[in-house]
Amino acid sequence: MDVIKFAEPILNPETLKAIDLHLEALYESKTTIDIGQKMADVELKSSQIRNLENLVMSTKRFSEIINFIKNQTGKDKKGKWPLIADTLLHQLEALEDKAREIGKDNPGITFEVKRQLARGWVKQIVAHYFFADSKKKKDKL
């Protein structure tokens, strides 16, 4: 995909607050904690988690995250991604709906809100994955 040739929109404080509040709510509802835990339980490798994180932090297109998860699921012969893919995809669709709600009818704002929500979402998942993974390793000792 070509690089977007336009400047990224600047979000106003009200929009930033709406993003933060939603990310806080996600954390409190344990949505991201549970999936981070599940990723550790199915023993996804840390490199796979970092790949997902790097993609989310660097991509300009939200659907690239969705397609990454679908692709990983499609090629996973060990059957780990298929155990978590539906939950991840469902959460991403919910983020997309929330971004449309926050961005109202402004496509540029919606585009940027989607990116910010995805970044906050993945940060929470990754943090809990590494916490759960290290706990699991300690328990094994």
């Binding site: 977007i4 336009f6 585009f111």
Partner: protein
Amino acid sequence: MKTDLLESYSFYLLQDEAMRKNACQAVDHFLKVQQPVKNAQLHAIPPVMQAKGLSGLRGLIDNQKSKNTKKENKKFWLFLSDLILSNPGPEFSLRKFLLDQPQIKALLQDETSAIEKKEQKKIRKANKAIVDEIMEYVLPVYFEHFNCHYFYRTRQGA
């Protein structure tokens, strides 16, 4: 005008959301009515498009259709031919999807505004050229959606 559209946020969101849904619907429709093909069939698409664009894809589809190959492979390439090359194509075809978008409709001239047939033909040709150019632009993302959803659905047992 066309460049403005292609570089706009609304068009970017269109590729990200509505076009993704359209590509996923096409995959779901195919898997509902046909036997799945091996992933290797789909792996051929992105490099051909990257190298030669829409004309390369047209060549690949025509070539695969005429090959003496498995029946399910043939059906898959016939399906892609309908989806991408036919004009306007079935309900879920890419061209039909693009033509239904108001921001694309706004770029096209009304054929009926011309009285002479020769002039109408000229408008039709110009409109087709605009849609072809937009298709050329969106095809890599379209097939990213299509292929990834296909791999996902077939892995989940479709």
